[in-house]
C-alpha cells in the first residue's frame, strides 16, 4: 500500500524510518519514566516486583502467541521452555557471578533462549507432525517430562545441578524494572518484525490454510518448526528474566498450570493480536495483586470471568486487531489534509 488514491486525494504515508523513530522514542520515554519512578520509590518495592512479573508475562504471552495466534497450533507446553530457559540462565549466572552482571545478564538470557530453542527444535520435529489436540497433548507431555527431569536429574548425575525439589537458590537477582521492560520491548519488536517479513507471512499462511500454503511451495514443516522454535526461544528469555526476578527456582512452578495460565492470556487477549496478548498479560498479572484484599474470592471471580468471556466474546478482547501508532497517525494526517473527501471503504 504505497500512495493510494482515494477519491482524487493522495493518501499520504509516513516513512517507515519515521514510524520506527516515533515508536522507539515513545518506548524510551516509557522506560525512562518507569525506571525513574521505580528508582525513586514512587512505585513501591512490591509494586515494582509486580511490574517485573508483568514484563515477564508479556514476553511469555507474546511468545506463545507466535505459536498459537500466528502459526495456528495449540501447544500446551510453554512452561517447559520457560523452565529450560530459567534453569539455563540461572546456572550460567551463578557460575559467572564473578564477572560484571550488566554484561553477563544479557548473555545468560540469550543462552537460556538458545537452549530453549534447541529444546523447541527437538520437541517440535516429532510434535508438529501431529495436529490440533494431539499436538496439545504431546507438548504437554514433553513439558511434564522436562519438569520431572529437572526434579530428578541430580540423582542420575551424581552431583547437584538443579537441586531438584530443594530449589535452586542464590541466583543473582539481576532483573530490574528497566531491563525487564527493555527485554519485553525488544522481544515484541523482534516478533513484530519477524511477522512482517517474508517468513512471518509464510507462518501466517500456514495458520490460514496449511494445504493451500503447501501447494504454493511453502515448506510447511520448516516454517512450523521455525515458528515453534522462535516461540520457545522467547519463552526461554522470559524464563531467564523470571530466574533473575525470583532468585530461586523450583520445578513445581513450571507445571502444567503455568502453561495453561499463559494460554489463557493469549486467548483472552485475542489470538494473533500482540496488543491483546500484552493487555491480557498486564491485566491478568495485575488484577490478582489488586484483588489481594479479596484473595479468597479472586480465583472464583477469575474463573467466572474466563467462562463468561468465552461465552460472550469467544474471539478475545482484541480479536485479531492490532494497534499501529504509525497507522493512526497516518489516518489523522490524511483527515486533516483532506477533510472534505470521504475515504473509500473498499
Amino acid at each position: 500500500m504505497d500512495k493510494v488514491k482515494t477519491g482524487g486525494a493522495v493518501y499520504r504515508r509516513l516513512p517507515t524510518g519515521l514510524r520506527y523513530l516515533i515508536n522507539t522514542a515513545l518506548f524510551a520515554l516509557f522506560l525512562i519514566t518507569i525506571t525513574a519512578l521505580a528508582d525513586n520509590r514512587v512505585i513501591s518495592y512490591s509494586d515494582s516486583k509486580v511490574l517485573m512479573l508483568i514484563a515477564v508475562n508479556i514476553i511469555l504471552a507474546v511468545s506463545l502467541n507466535v505459536a498459537t495466534g500466528y502459526l495456528g497450533q495449540l501447544p500446551l507446553g510453554h512452561a517447559g521452555f520457560m523452565a529450560v530457559g530459567a534453569y539455563t540462565s540461572a546456572l550460567f549466572m551463578r557460575s559467572a557471578s564473578a564477572y560484571p552482571g550488566q554484561l553477563m545478564f544479557p548473555l545468560g538470557l540469550i543462552l537460556g533462549g538458545l537452549v530453549a530453542a534447541l529444546f523447541g527444535l527437538v520437541i517440535g520435529i516429532p510434535a508438529l507432525r501431529l495436529k490440533g489436540d494431539y499436538l496439545a497433548i504431546i507438548t504437554l507431555g514433553f513439558s511434564e517430562i522436562i519438569r520431572v527431569v529437572i526434579l530428578n536429574i541430580d540423582s542420575v548425575l551424581g552431583f547437584k545441578l538443579t537441586f531438584g525439589a530443594a530449589s535452586l537458590k542464590n541466583i543473582p537477582t539481576t532483573t530490574t524494572v528497566f531491563n525487564a521492560f527493555l527485554w519485553a520491548g525488544i522481544v515484541c519488536f523482534i516478533i513484530h518484525a519477524m511477522m512482517k517479513s517474508r517468513h512471518g507471512r509464510a507462518i501466517l499462511s500456514i495458520r490460514d490454510n496449511e494445504i493451500a500454503s503447501e501447494s504454493c511451495g511453502i515448506s510447511t514443516t520448516f516454517y512450523k518448526t521455525l515458528g515453534f522454535c522462535a516461540s520457545a526461544f522467547f519463552a526461554g528469555i522470559a524464563g531467564g528474566l523470571y530466574a533473575g526476578y525470583l532468585g530461586i527456582l523450583s520445578p513445581g512452578s513450571f507445571g502444567f498450570m503455568k502453561s495453561i495460565e499463559i494460554l489463557v492470556m493469549v486467548v483472552l487477549g485475542g489470538m494473533g493480536s500482540m496488543l491483546g496478548s500484552i493487555i491480557a498479560a498486564v491485566a491478568l498479572t495485575a488484577l490478582p495483586e489488586l484483588l489481594r484484599a479479596f484473595s479468597d474470592y479472586r480465583m472464583v471471580v477469575y474463573s467466572l470471568v474466563l467462562i463468561a468471556m468465552m461465552i460472550f466474546r469467544p474471539e478475545g478482547l482484541m480479536g485479531s486487531y492490532d494497534f499501529s501508532l504509525g497507522g493512526l497517525l497516518e489516518r489523522l494526517l490524511n483527515r486533516k489534509s483532506a477533510p472534505l473527501i470521504k475515504e473509500d471503504e473498499s
Binding site: L74, P126, R129, L130, G132, D133, Y134, A136, I137, I138, L140, G141, F142, E144, I145, V148, V149, L151, N152, I211, F256, M257, I260, L263, V264, V267, L268, M271, D296, Y297, M299, V300, Y302, S303, L304, L306, I307, M310, I311, P314
Partner: protein, 298 residues
C-alpha cells in the same frame, strides 16, 4: 531378598497397577466419550471426580449416612453436575471455535476447584472406608480386597457401557452423532439430548471412579482432580481418544506402568515415564493405539 518375596512384590504391584489402572480407565472413558461426540478436551472432568469425593465425604462424615447412600449420592451428584456443566457452559459455545470451548472447560475446572477450596478449605478431608472386607490371602500372598473390588466394579461398568453403546437405541444415537452430527440430526436424532446423555454417562462413570479412588486413597482435596484427570486423559489419548476399548487399554497400561516404575524404586520418575510412553505411542501412531485416523480433506 529371596526370589519368593520378589515375586510377591511384583504380584502386589501388578495388582496395584490394575487397581489404579481401572480407575484411570473409568475416568478416561468420560474424556473419550465427550471428545468423541463434541471434540472437546473436557478439562473439568477431573474436577467432577473431586466433587464426587467431597459428596461421599459429606454424606458419610457430616450427615453420618450409610456408605451405600454415599456412593449413590456421589454418582448421582456427579451425573447432575456433568449435565449442568454441559448445559450452562458448553451448549452456548457449540458453534464457536474449539479453542474457546477448551478455555471454557479450563474455566469450569478452575471454578470447581476454587469454589470447593472456598467452601471446604484447602486441607484434605479423610473419607472413611465404604466397606470392611478382609484381605484375601493365597499361600502367603496377601491380596487387598479394595483392589479386587475396584477391578471387578470397573470391569462391570465397562461391560455395561459397552452394552449400552452397542445394543441400545441411545447408544446407537451416540455413535451416530459422533460419526456425523449433521447427518444424525437429519435422521431425527435429537443432538442436544444425545450430548446431554453422553455427559451424564461419562460423569456417572467419573462418580463411580471417585468412589473407587477413595477406597484406594481415602482423601478428598480441592486439587485432587487435576493430576488424576491429566493421567486419565493421557490414558484416553494413549488408547485412542474417542474409542471406548482404547480408553480401557490406555488406563490399564498407564496404571501398570506407574506401578512397575514404582516397584523398581523410581517412583519420582513415574509421571515422566507415563508421558514418555504417551509421546512414543503418539509419534509411532499419531491417533493412539486404537484410534481411527481421519483423512485430510481439501
Amino acid at each position: 531378598m529371596s526370589d519368593m518375596t520378589a515375586i510377591t512384590t511384583i504380584l502386589k504391584q501388578i495388582l496395584n497397577g490394575l487397581q489404579s489402572g481401572s480407575i484411570y480407565a473409568l475416568i478416561a472413558l468420560g474424556y473419550s466419550m465427550v471428545y468423541g461426540i463434541i471434540m472437546l478436551l473436557n478439562f473439568a472432568h477431573g474436577d467432577i471426580i473431586m466433587v464426587g469425593a467431597y459428596l461421599a465425604w459429606l454424606c458419610m462424615v457430616r450427615f453420618a449416612l450409610n456408605p451405600a447412600l454415599a456412593v449413590a449420592a456421589a454418582v448421582a451428584g456427579c451425573t447432575a453436575l456433568g449435565m449442568l456443566i454441559e448445559k450452562a457452559a458448553y451448549t452456548p459455545l457449540r458453534s464457536s471455535p474449539r479453542l474457546s470451548l477448551l478455555i471454557t472447560a479450563i474455566g469450569v475446572s478452575y471454578l470447581l476447584e476454587n469454589t470447593f477450596q472456598l467452601i471446604f478449605g484447602a486441607g484434605a478431608k479423610t473419607v472413611p472406608p465404604f466397606f470392611n472386607a478382609k484381605n484375601l490371602s493365597f499361600g502367603g500372598v496377601v491380596l487387598s480386597s479394595n483392589a479386587i473390588v475396584t477391578i471387578i466394579a470397573a470391569a462391570v461398568c465397562m461391560a455395561l457401557l459397552t452394552l449400552l453403546v452397542q445394543k441400545t437405541k441411545m447408544g446407537k444415537a451416540m455413535r451416530a452423532v459422533s460419526e456425523d452430527m449433521g447427518a444424525a440430526q437429519l435422521m431425527g436424532i435429537s443432538i442436544n439430548r444425545t450430548i446431554s446423555f453422553t455427559f451424564a454417562v461419562g460423569s456417572a462413570l467419573a462418580g463411580i471412579g471417585s468412589v473407587l479412588y477413595c477406597t484406594a486413597y481415602p482423601q478428598a482435596d480441592p486439587m485432587m482432580g487435576s493430576m488424576l484427570g491429566l493421567k486419565a486423559f493421557v490414558a484416553a489419548v494413549l488408547g485412542g481418544i474417542g474409542s471406548i476399548p482404547g480408553a480401557m487399554i490406555g488406563g490399564l497400561a498407564i496404571g501398570l506402568a506407574e506401578a512397575l516404575v514404582s516397584a523398581a524404586g523410581l517412583s519420582t520418575w513415574k509421571d515422566g515415564v507415563v508421558f514418555a510412553i504417551l509421546i512414543i505411542v503418539l509419534v509411532v501412531k499419531p491417533t493412539g493405539i486404537l484410534g481411527r485416523s481421519l483423512n485430510e480433506k481439501v
